[in-house]
């Protein structure tokens, strides 16, 4: 029994078919629970008022935007090294989800920034590097859809993902150097001192769990779709040959 058994598309589909309903239900429950808890059952911040509550969307989506790219990086590496098709397809499936997470993070940030910072957008390092991350997602998805041969596309996008990761990190430090930040520091670091108060922290954790589950469920679903579409194409091709 090893994790590589799931590289077999049939095995992957069978397992994820069983997991998917549970994952989806868990995602919906924790998202709804976390958001309702956060929106209606936490006090308002004494300085930020009710705008503080956007944290329950902003922080988890920002977290997932970065982790989705990390997951694509790992999946790309697995594809390059071991050439399991499921891995390449999972990377492909994660990209649009990650891009949407980036948009959610940017949009909620802008909505919060308008009353708090007095501006929708500032060229702050964190904001800027998220915008750049979004551009990377766009390029990655565009390359996938531009190439007709599936294996070539998987190879090329994997290498783009590797190179892009290096440049994304470089850009992160470059924008840090380029402009001073307006964005507050980490609110979820391991260092307890600088974190948000417990009363906001627990619903936030539930929301993060919800976003993680949602991401996994969506990636599973999209990977399955991709595998089935590919099988359908293969069947049509076989039909034509016969």
């Amino acid at each position: 029994m090893s994790i590589w058994e799931y590289a077999n598309p049939v095995k992957f589909i069978r397992t994820t078919d069983k997991l998917l309903p549970w994952l989806s239900v868990a995602a919906v429950v924790s998202l709804v629970g976390g958001l309702v808890w956060g929106f209606f059952f936490t006090p308002e911040d004494f300085r930020q008022g009710s705008t503080v509550k956007i944290i329950y969307l902003h922080v988890p989506s920002a977290l997932m935007a970065i982790n989705a790219w990390l997951m694509m990086l790992v999946a790309s590496l697995i594809w390059i090294v071991r050439r399991h098709h499921v891995s390449a397809l999972a990377a492909r499936a994660a990209a649009p989800v990650g891009a949407v997470m980036t948009v959610i993070a940017l949009a909620t940030g802008a909505i919060w920034g308008q009353p708090m910072w007095g501006t929708w957008w500032a060229w702050d390092p964190r904001l800027t590097s998220f915008l750049i991350l979004f551009l990377f997602y766009l390029g990655y998805m565009a390359l996938w859809s531009a190439i007709e041969n599936d294996d070539t596309a998987a190879d090329l996008t994997s290498i783009l993902c590797l190179v892009g990761s290096v440049f994304a990190v470089l850009s992160r430090y470059a924008v840090n150097f380029w402009n001073q930040g307006l964005h507050q520091g980490a609110s979820l670091s391991m260092d307890k001192e600088e974190n948000v108060a417990d009363i906001f922290w627990y619903p936030l954790l539930v929301c993060i769990a919800g976003f993680v589950l949602l991401f996994i469920a969506l990636v599973f679903l999209r990977t399955q779709t991709e595998i089935r579409a590919r099988r359908a194409r293969a069947l049509i091709a076989r039909e034509r040959m016969a």
Binding site: I132, F136, G139, L143, A146, L156, I159, F167, A174, V175
Partner: protein, 218 residues
């Protein structure tokens, strides 16, 4: 390798548009800026380093798809791939040829265009230095993008979408060197970072470009 370099240079010169097009584009971008932001000299002088950098970057981008496209169409890229030269070497030479035909003229033209934008007197040297250090990185990164999109029918737009985000760190540090130089501030830190990006890209990216090219030629 030298033969390949000479061949590429000769092709670029004879086909026309190699030097000329990039330079003309650079000139037009710089001329258009005052129309966009107004002819006020103080403002132009302040944004001049950034405008020169962006103009050079866009001019560089414009000629990227020529790096491999012609060789791909007439099949000489396949011949090059079977030559005893390693693919990494071919890619590096291609990037070097692109830099000599596009990057170098841009670097040399930038101070002249700086006059048009009322660049402060102290800025000329640093615009020149930062572009001279930064444009090789633009060529090398661009070669990677060109290798990625070589087999595609309409790769041009995709190429810019892929390459522009990769240009961000180079642009930030390059424009920072030029800006600080123009304002008479210390330039060491961004200059070192820019040099680091250039040499790092030069050392590592040819491997990625070569791998990508091999996949595309498969």
């Amino acid at each position: 390798m030298i033969a390949l370099l000479l061949r590429d240079l000769r092709l670029a010169v004879r086909a026309g548009g190699g030097f000329g097009l990039g330079l003309a584009f650079f000139l037009i971008v710089v001329v258009l800026v005052p129309f966009g932001v107004g002819p006020e000299t103080a403002l132009l002088g302040r944004i001049a380093p950034g405008v020169l950098w962006i103009g050079a970057l866009l001019a560089c981008l414009l000629s990227l798809d020529r790096i491999f496209a012609l060789d791909w169409e007439d099949g000489s890229l396949d011949l090059l791939a079977t030559a005893p030269l390693p693919m990494e070497g071919i890619v590096t030479i291609k990037a070097l040829a692109h830099w000599i035909t596009t990057g170098l003229p841009l670097v040399l033209a930038a101070p002249a265009l700086g006059v048009l934008l009322n660049l402060p007197a102290g800025g000329y040297l640093w615009v020149l230095v930062s572009l001279a250090l930064g444009t090789p990185a633009l060529s090398v990164i661009g070669t990677f993008g060109a290798a990625l999109t070589v087999g595609l029918k309409r790769g041009g737009l995709l190429l810019s979408l892929l390459v522009l985000p990769l240009y961000v760190p180079t642009l930030i540090f390059g424009a920072e060197v030029a800006r600080r130089g123009a304002e008479g501030l210390a330039v060491e830190t961004p200059l070192l970072m820019l040099a680091g990006i250039s040499f790092g890209a030069l050392a590592l990216l040819p491997f990625a470009s070569a791998a990508v090219l091999r996949i595309n030629l498969r």
